[in-house]
Symmetry: C2
Amino acid sequence: MKLQSFVEYPFVDGGVCAAKGFKAGGVCAGLKHHALTDESVSEANVAANGVTETAPKKNDLAMIVADRDCAAAAVYTSNKVKGAPILVTKQNLKNGRAKAVIVNSVNANTCNADGVEKATAMCKLAADALNIVPEDVIVASTGVIGQTLPIEPIAAAVPGLVESLSYEGNAAAVNAIMTTDTRPKEVAVQFKLGDVTCTLGGMLKGSGMIHPNMATTLTFLTTDCAIAPAMLQQALSDVVRVTLNRVSVDGDQSTNDMVCVMANGVAGNKEINSENGDYAVFRGALYAVMLNLARMCAADGEGATKLIECVVSQAESEQIAETVAKSVICSSLFKSAMFGADANWGRIACAMGYADCEFDVTKVDVDLASAAGKISVAKNGFGIPFSEEEAKKVLLEDEIRVLISLNSGEAAAVAWGCDLTYDYVKINGDYRS
Amino acid sequence: MKLQSFVEYPFVDGGVCAAKGFKAGGVCAGLKHHALTDESVSEANVAANGVTETAPKKNDLAMIVADRDCAAAAVYTSNKVKGAPILVTKQNLKNGRAKAVIVNSVNANTCNADGVEKATAMCKLAADALNIVPEDVIVASTGVIGQTLPIEPIAAAVPGLVESLSYEGNAAAVNAIMTTDTRPKEVAVQFKLGDVTCTLGGMLKGSGMIHPNMATTLTFLTTDCAIAPAMLQQALSDVVRVTLNRVSVDGDQSTNDMVCVMANGVAGNKEINSENGDYAVFRGALYAVMLNLARMCAADGEGATKLIECVVSQAESEQIAETVAKSVICSSLFKSAMFGADANWGRIACAMGYADCEFDVTKVDVDLASAAGKISVAKNGFGIPFSEEEAKKVLLEDEIRVLISLNSGEAAAVAWGCDLTYDYVKINGDYRS
């Protein structure tokens, strides 16, 4: 997938370890095997995942540790049902400082009577092993909701996890947070504040239960830039709004969504304390990273074969543009048509029509575009003749752009989704196995 | 599917012809073949539908005609993009009177520059053939959006359609309005107003783009009860709210939704002119018919193998109960789990949590039930141990009930949906063929 950037940030390797002064690591604590009987594991591996007993073990426990105390900020799910780790992390980040992240996959530690106790225990296990205080630990979990999280395998794995930490450990860490993701998602960029080169990178997990509201899924960001906690929070909240909050895979907003960022100041720039020029550059770098993580998240949605990018322009307000764009990328009918590379644009019209906002439907133009070309399918709200053959060619690509002009203003917004496929149903018909 | 009734209405056969004084009919005007080249028809039939060239032709044009002038009422989609037939019917029903319905499938006559012209022409064709005025005709269309509706095959078919009209023509009519429906949907009940026996019946088409708001899909109701237009409209709007407005197949609210009812007064009861006892009985009969049509609609959702009924009780308000119930039946993740008969109740918790209303998540109890039994999966917002084997048995049935108690009031609501399956994707990957 080609990285997108609207500014001149050079992309670099390294994900959460790209910025100076961050180590990461990941190990397999065996949470999956712990949750199931031996027999069901074997069945599930073969039946649902096509994974055989001899397949390499996937990591399920990751850690990120900063060399120095960090400014930290986070944005959380607005789901009323919140994972226990969300509650504990919120408490720990009240002072705007953090030093480490511990995160597991397989089990979301949500809707469990002892959830907060277990999330607190994870912080303490990490803190003791790292010789820091538990309040400096960010804890996160992702996986099945409503099953008790076994703490023993985590306790047993933490020493090895700490031992595995390295300045090149980003790949092991991102592997550990993957659930139904088919590929790891990491991005990092470099930017200049005066003479000082700073780096900001991050990793994200998909790929189901993705329909953000104030945050999405699990995303961990690190930077060596010096920035005050309040400005870090402001930049994060602002960028989440126009990136992860405009992604939907399946309309299901997770209970465990969290995006957090740690800034250790190792780069040596003058700390950003206000909305000055340095802040604008920092925000731009954060946008470049999160925009690409958002696109990767949508493109690797459960079962997806295509990234769908819906651009709504010439709207009366950004709110209207965003509402229309999200309505289109969330339509199951439209998503199914995209899987079939069928230019059934009436479903775009339908989804625009039930978007919860006001605009003049008789002014709407719709184009479909991809690397293979562009076709116009509707003008002034009515269908226009187009070549089905050409449309098919455009839609057989794996990145499709739906370009909608409302012709009634100057605001615009983009939202990202994916197609709805047999594999989405397959993956989710028996997810817990 | 077993019919449900909370009162003592006897169900009778006959659908839209059950009430005295209504004829119906249906013919094949060939709209499907007209829209496609011969080659694409042949390919599409074999590939997408498994239908061979020798399969019997499905009807695509239906008519219902009353012996007498009727009181009439309707509820329409709130989609901003409205099918042209909606606009024409709204205009024709302004006086609360109608005498006939003409409806086609295959093509929705929506988002076409000449849509209103064509819908008006359909009314005139019907009116001329029936020797009534066009303003007494209800017109409706369902099918692909954004393709020009050919009027010639309709004009050619109307004489035969009128000839086919009979007091037993309900089956031919309901066949004509089916799109991806796998079975016809008709219900009728009898009820007593004093000594007079009245009948009310109807037919509904599914089965995709179903997510009602002020109406759903196409539903045609007929009754021989005498009732004033204003009371008919009140009863219809009231009952739609608690039946069709609580059905969702795929979250996509159609552009062509319409429910209409015609009352010809042939039964000879004293016309219902106020909210009296007769009105209550009539409303009950209407509820019995629409409740069952709603359940049939959900059960035969595109690709569905199961009806999902979500009952939310002990809510602070009916609004909260309805919002929670709809959120659960709309969750793609939960719907996929139901297809897999997987008791992944965490997805119910997740969907409740993002429902747009306030309630205390720590008071929530969840049970899953079917003809095979009932299991409790959550108590006070937390998971409780249950037998996976028993859960599987419950979920392998084809009617599943999700019973949610919010334990914070006395209001309740029910919503109906279905599972999400491979076939939904298959049907919608190339629907236009």
